[in-house]
């Protein structure tokens, strides 16, 4: 059921290596370029954040593992540009036309950058789906973790938290459902909650009896427990 990006709880990755806080934001020039090209292409309006996340998740496990962070971004972007018909395979191979593109009037100008970054893209929406839970309620997550609308599709319930019993700590209002939005099936907003789980509910050998993990989970991922 899972994809390679869903790595929470995995064994075998080795140490985390802290970095100097005064170090460069982009250790290589091309890192900043990769981030900027990705943000600028987002302004063409051909996909949303859920579609772009899923494009990275759909990289083959071999590519996902061997690519560095911004290589994943570039690969996901190149794949999306072709899938959405913005570019052709011939373009990527260097043999395409240089003619002005029909979407060129949507290009992000330098003057628009500050406004675009400040505006952001809020995910909260009005919804006619009423909250079923309130803080303190016991809930259990779906099992197995997976998209119920599209086989192999995007979801934000990590495998490590599937079938686990937790407790609602907060209602965030109604947010766009990534499982639907990532596949062009509409925003389908529904209540989103912070749900706390005892570490002992998730792991065979928790480090401390009172440690906890909190996840943000949509109502359709949850049932009363």
């Amino acid at each position: 059921m899972t994809r390679v990006h869903d790595m929470g709880g995995r064994y075998g990755d080795g140490a985390v290596v802290p970095e100097d806080e005064d170090g460069p934001v982009f250790p290589q020039d091309w890192h900043g370029r990769a981030l900027a090209v990705t943000l600028a292409c987002g302004s063409l309006g051909q996909w949303n954040i859920d579609i772009s996340r899923h494009a990275r998740e759909r990289l083959s496990p071999q590519d996902y593992t061997r690519f560095s962070y911004y290589e994943k971004w570039m690969a996901g972007l190149a794949d999306l540009l072709v899938e959405k018909g913005v570019l052709t395979a011939e373009d990527l191979s260097g043999g395409g036309s240089d003619a002005r593109h029909p979407l060129a009037d949507r290009v992000m100008t330098p003057e628009a950058v500050a406004r675009t970054l400040v505006n952001g893209g809020p995910a909260d929406r009005d919804s006619n789906i009423a909250p079923l839970f309130e803080p303190g309620d016991a809930v259990r997550t779906a099992r197995p973790a997976g998209n119920r609308l599209v086989d192999g599709g995007h979801t934000r319930l990590p495998a490590y938290a599937a079938g686990a019993k937790g407790r609602i700590v907060r209602l965030h209002g109604c947010h766009v459902l990534p499982d639907s939005s990532a596949h062009g099936l509409g925003e389908a907003p529904e209540p989103l909650y912070s749900v706390v789980f005892a570490a002992s509910e998730l792991w065979t050998d928790p480090e401390h009896p009172r440690d906890e993990v909190v996840l943000d989970l949509w109502q359709s991922y949850l049932e009363p427990a």
Partner: protein, 203 residues
């Protein structure tokens, strides 16, 4: 259906990462789909204008202004927006406060979600497989790799950022800082202390 064909368009670009980015930028620029000057502006924004100094101002104010702390608890998005901090990857903010009983720590196991308007672009370790895999299962071992050891009476609460809500850790105010003004307090607040892999340091 997701497109799981193995004829990946990205494989058509040059294999070297820097050349791959350059090739894509060139193709898109020639067609008028991106403006290189806009890319320069985006990079300049995150290299020079938006970074963890923003978050440190929020923490210092939370430490020293009880009214602001209440506002932050009630609606962190609105409270930090009033300080001028709002935007992409910070549209829905929640502040989580460290206490002697609970230490908060933030991760995104599924990708690399991070509060950009307050902390900027995440450091490499935050985006690493090791941090994403281990922070939820063995946060205390990860903390030890940052030189942080918590007392036994402190529980760890790890926030896995699985939605568009972004979390800012408010570290505990260090002892011996009663007389410091807000700028001096902000200087004690490291980036890692606002992710929860570090502590604010005494002067």
């Amino acid at each position: 259906m997701p497109h799981d064909d193995h004829d990946h368009p990205h494989a058509l670009l040059p294999p070297d990462p820097a050349l791959r980015v350059k090739a894509l930028e060139t193709i898109l620029t020639r067609k008028g789909l991106i403006d290189p000057a806009a890319l320069d502006e985006i990079i300049d924004t995150y290299e020079n204008k938006i970074g963890p100094k923003n978050g440190a101002q929020v923490v210092a104010r939370a430490w020293s202004d009880p009214g602001f702390l209440e506002a932050l608890r009630a609606d962190a998005t609105a409270a930090v927006k009033d300080m001028g901090f709002y935007g992409r990857q910070g549209e829905h903010m929640v502040a989580v406060e460290n206490t002697p009983e609970v230490h908060n720590m933030v991760v995104c196991t599924l990708c690399s979600c991070y509060p950009w308007p307050l902390l900027g672009i995440p450091p490499g370790w935050y985006k690493s497989d090791a941090y994403r895999a281990r922070a939820v299962r063995e946060p205390r071992k990860v903390l030890a790799e940052f030189g942080v050891t918590l007392p036994d009476e402190t529980a760890v609460r790890v926030w896995d950022s699985t939605a568009e809500v972004r979390y800012l850790v408010i570290p505990m105010r260090p002892e011996g800082t009663a007389g410091l003004d807000r700028d001096a307090l902000a200087a004690l607040v490291s980036r890692d202390s606002m992710i929860g892999t570090g502590l604010a340091v005494a002067p």
